[in-house]
């Protein structure tokens, strides 16, 4: 029997862990790093780069370096999120044959699950090499707000990478699992404050009777540690311009060095009150080379990031309010994501929640650790904790006027079955179209359409008279069965809706084959 692993497939970094001797263990790569940057690139001479090497040339090769693919996975090209991302990244995003968002890299159009597959493949190889064993399966984490399409696209990515998915679990749930493993199980309400490289999420979980339940979740998918890096880079650029009257923005080699230096300085300032940046031969003018040396104080960084941290606290406040909870109801605050190492974040969360946040777990690794615990629990015959996940988005159908009628509200624990009654909109109507949507918008078409079918043979009657029962049955794998029934006639129609990621089965098989040959090529490199 091989090993199981947990993978935190992040927007900016990916982390892989396994349960060893009953304890979660984050697996380092051969280079000793514990995080794999979620970057993919194709070089000028058509070499494929993944992880840290792809990141280290992201500014000098911007059109062919794909990052933050997680913001695009499982999304339609014309969706708001994709259009926003299009304006923020240097690489090209195009429409795929199924209306999905795809990227152009190295002159080729690639699907997003393919890009994520490269990152997952790297994680799998790191684990396989370290554990000296085959990987039988993995639990992969996703944000709690991911819809079924995004989850399915993540499963497709794993399949392309030759990785069997044991379960897709929500990131805050994984964090809570890791937390419970260290602290022991108590009945309590936990707030998971997750400030990562690219996104911010706050989730409220309830742990009781061996069951975890996500009560509420919210966040900002465009607020993360990289925004803080960018503030620091902007500050340095201004400082440099003032001192030397040179704009470094056009110098890609200087910008690549500056980005790395700013990230390093930010990390240093979490444990020290000042950080030195030394960049000899950063650029040159007709007068010769220019070196850059400066000391950044923690106070300065905090001044630059203060409003961003304030935004996260505002989201926390509205999430608690939305869940009908008070700050005092929260027993424990868990900090997740590298950005929570910043003293300002620790101070502000402590101030807001009125208690010191729990920092006993490495914030970069907690999600992967939790996923590895769950992966082990799935294959282990021992009794384990039960995970209860919620529907992050409401599920329902389109009604008269294009309105969205909820059948399963958001934040409902799954598995769940719910039934609502509807009726006809005109006299002698003998058929109704059931269009199933997922989302939190009031207008049906503003949400994600999952599928549609027609219930025919309805009893002919005046409008509003027939009773049409629509039942939604969602299992713990996220598969939804929708049944529409004419309660008077007994006529019934059922469909099973599995989210389509934007890739056909044939495409996935083809990509998997391609990936296997590329894997050999990568090993040879």
């Amino acid at each position: 029997m091989g090993k199981t692993i947990g993978i935190d497939l992040g927007t900016t970094n990916t982390c892989v862990a396994a349960l060893l001797n009953g304890k979660p263990f984050v697996i380092p790569s051969s280079t000793g790093t514990r995080l794999i940057p979620s970057y993919f690139a194709v070089t000028n001479d058509e070499k494929t780069l993944i992880g840290v090497r792809a990141k280290r040339q992201s500014i000098t090769n911007p059109q062919n370096t794909i990052f933050a693919a997680k913001r695009l996975i499982g999304r339609k090209f014309d969706s708001k999120e994709v259009q926003i991302t299009k304006g923020k990244v240097p690489y090209q995003i195009v429409e795929g044959p199924h209306g999905d968002a795809r990227v152009v890299c190295g002159g080729k159009t690639m699907s997003i699950p393919e890009i994520s597959a490269f990152i997952l493949l790297e994680a799998k190889n790191v684990a396989q090499e370290f554990l000296e064993d085959d990987i039988d399966g993995a639990c992969i984490t996703v944000p709690a707000y991911f819809n079924e399409t995004q989850r399915q696209a993540t499963i497709d990515a794993a399949e392309i990478a030759g990785l069997k998915v044991l379960r897709i679990i929500n990131e805050p749930t994984a964090s809570a699992l890791a937390y419970a493993q260290k602290r022991g199980k108590k009945n309590e309400l936990i707030a998971v404050y997750d400030f990562g490289g690219g996104t911010f999420d706050i989730s409220i979980l309830e742990f009781g009777e061996g069951v975890y339940e996500v009560l509420s979740t919210a966040g900002n998918t465009y607020l993360g540690g990289e925004d803080i890096d960018n503030r620091l880079i902007r500050y340095i650029l201004d400082d440099f311009k003032k001192a030397h009257d040179v704009d470094l923005m056009q110098d890609v080699m200087a910008m690549q060095r500056l980005k790395e230096a700013a990230e390093r300085a930010k990390i240093e300032l979490s444990s020290q009150t000042e950080a030195t940046i030394s960049l000899p031969f950063l650029t040159e003018t007709s007068h010769g080379s220019i070196h850059y040396n400066t000391v950044i104080m923690r106070n300065k960084l905090e001044e630059l990031m203060e409003d961003l941290v304030r935004q996260t606290i505002e989201i926390c406040a509205s999430t608690l309010e939305g869940a009908g909870l008070k700050k005092d109801d929260i027993h424990e605050v868990i900090l997740v994501g590298g950005q929570t190492r910043a003293p300002l974040v620790i101070r502000k969360t402590a101030e807001f929640f009125g208690k010191q946040p729990n920092r006993s777990i490495n914030p970069d690794e907690v999600v992967a650790e939790g996923a590895s615990i769950h992966a082990y629990n799935i294959v282990s015959p021992l009794p384990s904790n039960i995970l209860v996940d919620i529907t992050a988005l409401s599920l329902g159908i389109q009604t008269k006027g294009g309105m969205f009628a909820e059948v399963i509200p958001r934040n409902t624990a799954v598995p769940v079955t719910k039934t609502r009654r509807f009726t006809t909109t005109y006299d002698n109507q003998d058929a109704v179209r059931i269009a199933v949507y997922q989302g939190n918008e009031k207008i049906a078409q503003d949400n994600e359409m999952l599928g549609e079918f027609v219930l025919s043979g309805i009893r002919l009657a005046k409008k509003g008279d027939p009773n049409i029962e629509v039942s939604f049955d969602m299992n713990s794998e996220g598969i939804l069965r929708v049944t529409a029934k004419d309660a008077d006639m007994g006529t019934e129609q059922t469909v099973t809706l599995e989210a389509a990621s934007g890739l056909s089965n044939d495409e996935i098989t083809l990509m998997k084959k391609k990936m296997m040959s590329l894997e050999l090529e990568l090993k040879e490199q």
């Binding site: 001479d45 280290r56 040339q57 000098t60 040159e284 040396n293």
Partner: protein, 199 residues
């Protein structure tokens, strides 16, 4: 005569030469001479690699039948200077000189272009050998602050910044895509000679 095939043989020979497989390279260039006995590029490559121009199987006299292109006096002097530099293995100097000649003085002189390609291949061979086949992990021997004591430029500064302590030279070359691969090798070699980078 298939020009495409000849060009491929010439280029493949240069690649092999760059990897230190001189005999294999010469075999390919001799194949060129079988197809095109007067091919000046092949003749120059073989000669510069220190081998006899004619293959064993070719009848004596072939060499005499191949007319050398006429060189103007200045060009002749330059070619002789290059040959001297190559004999004394001063490849970097020869390359710099050739580059200047091919860019400014004689952009269309095929003999100079051929020498340029060959010296480049010779340098790649040297860098490959001196930098351990690009397979070792380079390390910085000098503190970043002390770098300013050296006569470097922004490109050197960028290359130095890419040394991370876990990537091999080859992996670093792949990551550096704003600078030509040969230029990166050349600068890397210079940094090792200056003692800034070690293995």
């Amino acid at each position: 005569m298939n020009q495409e095939e000849i060009d491929k043989l010439l280029q493949d020979g240069l690649t092999l030469y760059g990897y230190g497989k001189t005999e294999d390279a010469v075999t390919l260039w001799r194949k060129v001479l079988e197809l095109s006995p007067r091919n000046q590029q092949a003749l120059d490559y073989i000669e510069s690699a220190g081998y006899a121009a004619e293959p064993q199987s070719v009848a004596a006299g072939t060499k005499e039948e191949v007319p050398k292109p006429e060189l103007k006096e200045a060009e002749f002097v330059n070619i002789n200077y290059i040959r001297d530099l190559l004999k004394s293995r001063r490849y970097e100097l020869a390359y710099e000189f050739l580059e200047r000649l091919s860019e400014k003085n004689y952009p269309s002189n095929k003999q100079i272009t051929s020498y340029c390609a060959l010296v480049k291949a010779q340098l790649i061979k040297l860098y490959n050998h001196e930098l351990f086949g690009f397979k070792k992990i380079p390390k910085l021997n000098v503190n970043e602050q002390d770098l300013i004591k050296y006569n470097l430029d922004r490109t050197d500064g960028y290359i130095v910044s890419m040394i991370d302590g876990y990537s091999t030279a080859e992996e670093i070359f792949q990551t550096i895509n704003t600078i030509d691969r040969f230029e990166t090798m050349k600068r890397f070699y210079k940094l090792t000679k200056l003692g800034i980078v070690g293995f």
